[in-house]
């Protein structure tokens, strides 16, 4: 079954607006953030209109409804990725989820906040210090790179990484030496936000587990676009943002294996994550509440649940297939332009719908400016993946990223827009 793109587009009010000089909006920046369908906007509003209250507090009906809304959203998100609701933690976004893991692990290593980790196998798996290694890849978004760099600085562990291949995939040729008994954490992207490459995370996870390491998967670019089942990834932790999957900003998700979460000390401390507080010290609630300090973003979580409903109604296989078609068309169309180099695989095998490219003699910001004038929204820069750009030998790039509401015509408009930029800057 293919998508009825026209019907889908009608669900997204923002796609009806015009931009610069009255051009219709061609939104090719969903890799940065996606647009929201009416169903999501309505769900968020309905909650605020009828039930708004602080979840897990309040001796009143609204408090109960807010709690039900939050916990209902947790169950809905869990079902979306084939997980258990008790293993779903709401964060602010994917970046905060990565920091939650990294800070909890270093808190376990340094014994703070008070309460410390439980003892046992899970706690040992989390213990990190000098002589240990954290292994990432050169493809990572800064969100799955800087928190690990910082963790290493705090604990004395060493950061290592898989290099990137010329076509923008993870180079696994040295996996046997990179993954060793020193490796404690392997953190890898499920889909590059620049090259679209989808590393074989299950294979990497198997090697990591054989060495006794924990596996963290950055699913910010995969969960919105593919059917993801946490068990199939081999991950111990997996995280993503709501706003990249049709949901509001301000809500993200961390999934973690129960026994690990159980052994982890908190990251952010304060209200609603405690068990008992005395002036001398505090004890903490079990997961997931242990990791959700403060009044949660209930309305946003409700919006995220509505986004899961919307995506499941369309069918994630259909979403993935539609984007595969758009990506194939983009690769062909951009290659046909001439003077354009795609940073990433030129096939759609193990590849998602982010297409980054360089235009000979036209800087990405200037390409982006011309496209913007045509109503085409793309991203220009290093897309929070500076080491990847350096490894590929480019200063910056222009990126088009697709979602279920994009059309083949929009891909063609992108190619035409690049030609216009070339003409404007006198390179053709």
């Amino acid at each position: 079954m293919s998508l009825d793109v026209a019907a889908i587009r009608a669900d997204f009010p923002i796609l009806q607006r015009s931009v610069r000089g009255g051009s219709p909006l061609i939104y090719l920046d969903s890799g940065a953030t996606s647009q929201k369908p009416t169903a999501v906007l309505d769900a968020e509003r309905a909650y605020n209109v009828a039930s708004n209250a602080a979840a897990h507090r309040g001796a009143h009906l609204l408090g109960e409804e807010a709690t039900d809304a939050l916990e209902g959203a947790r169950a809905r998100v869990a079902a979306f990725i084939g997980a258990d609701p008790s293993e779903i933690i709401f964060t602010r976004n994917a970046t905060e989820a990565a920091n939650l893991i990294a800070y909890s692990i270093s808190n376990a290593a340094t014994g703070g906040p008070s309460g410390g980790p439980a003892t046992g196998t899970a706690a040992e798996a989390l213990a990190i210090g000098p002589g240990n290694e954290v292994l990432i890849t050169e493809l990572e978004h800064h969100a799955n790179l800087v928190p690990w760099q910082q963790l290493c600085q705090r604990t004395g562990a060493t950061l290592r990484w898989f290099p990137v291949t010329g076509e923008g995939r993870v180079d696994l040729s040295d996996i046997d030496t990179l993954v060793s008994e020193r490796t404690k954490i392997v953190a890898v992207t499920h889909q590059s936000n620049v090259t679209g490459a989808m590393p074989p995370v299950a294979q990497i996870a198997a090697a990591a587990h054989a060495a006794g390491a924990i596996v963290v998967v950055d699913a910010a670019q995969s969960v919105p676009h593919h059917l993801v089942r946490v068990a199939e990834t081999g991950a111990d932790f997996l995280f993503f943002s709501g706003h990249k999957m049709l949901a509001p900003t301000g809500v993200g998700v961390l999934w973690g294996r129960g026994e690990l979460l159980e052994a982890m000390p908190p990251f952010i401390t304060g209200g609603s994550m405690i068990e008992v507080v005395r002036m001398e010290g505090s004890t903490f609630l079990p997961p997931p509440q242990r990791f959700e300090a403060g009044v949660p973003a209930v309305a946003q979580a409700v919006g995220l649940a509505a986004a899961c409903d919307y995506l499941d109604a369309v069918g994630m296989e259909n979403v993935a297939e539609h984007e595969r078609m758009l990506t194939a068309r983009a690769i062909d169309a951009l290659t046909a332009v001439g003077g354009v180099r795609i940073l990433g695989p030129l096939t759609t095998d193990a590849r998602g719908g982010a297409v980054s490219f360089e235009v000979d003699q036209v800087h990405p910001h200037d390409v982006g400016q011309v496209l913007d004038e045509l109503g085409i929204a793309v991203r220009a820069g290093h897309h929070c993946a500076w080491p990847l750009h350096r490894a590929l030998g480019v200063q910056a790039s222009t990126r088009a990223s697709f979602y279920l509401y994009n059309t083949p015509d929009e891909v063609d408009a992108l190619a035409d827009g690049i030609r216009t930029a070339q003409k404007f800057f006198g390179v053709t």
Partner: protein, 179 residues
């Protein structure tokens, strides 16, 4: 369903931003390349796109006040950032530092105006063509990259020159004392 637009309807907006003077400076930048001697060197980066510039400032004494002897640079970036630093070198080289700082302040003001300010051509010269850039908040940092680097380097150079002068004065004092 929205139909995709396939042709450029109008380039008027683009041309207001990419004035011919900007494109000329971009294609043939003035004073580019790092030169000796210099009193301070800085490296500035635009963190959103990774554009970077290494810029050197050499000062000289001009009738008892510091003046800009040379500004040399090496940079990687978009047309706006490249043209902007090229125009800057034309405007400040040879001028007293105080006047160059006034030009820099005027340019900063223009960039922050979001196109509301009436640029003073007497002060800004060719730099008035960047008025169109001020309409696009995302590009203001591009236009300012070289100017911020110049200001930083010049401040450091003034400090270095002042320190050298102080040391020279100290040496002279010591010499006098020894005599």
């Amino acid at each position: 369903m929205t139909s995709a637009k396939t042709t450029l309807g109008s380039t008027v907006q683009l041309e207001s931003m990419y004035q011919e003077i900007i494109l000329d400076h971009y294609r043939r930048p003035h004073h580019k390349g790092l030169r000796e001697p210099f009193d301070a060197e800085v490296h500035h980066v635009n963190p959103t796109c990774g554009d970077e510039i290494t810029l050197r400032v050499a000062l000289k004494d001009s009738g008892g006040e510091p003046a800009v002897a040379d500004v040399s640079y090496d940079s990687l970036g978009c047309s706006i950032s490249q043209a902007s630093v090229s125009v800057l070198t034309d405007l400040v080289i040879g001028k007293p530092v105080s006047e160059a700082m006034d030009i820099s302040a005027e340019f900063l003001e223009l960039m922050r105006s979001r196109d509301a300010a009436e640029p003073d051509e007497d002060v800004l010269g060719d730099a008035v063509v960047f008025a169109g850039v001020a309409k696009y908040p995302a590009r203001i940092k591009c236009a300012l990259l070289g100017w911020m680097a110049w200001k930083d380097a010049t401040t450091q150079a003034l400090g270095a020159v002042a320190t050298e002068q102080a040391l020279a004065d100290l040496d002279a004092d010591l010499d006098r004392e020894q005599k």
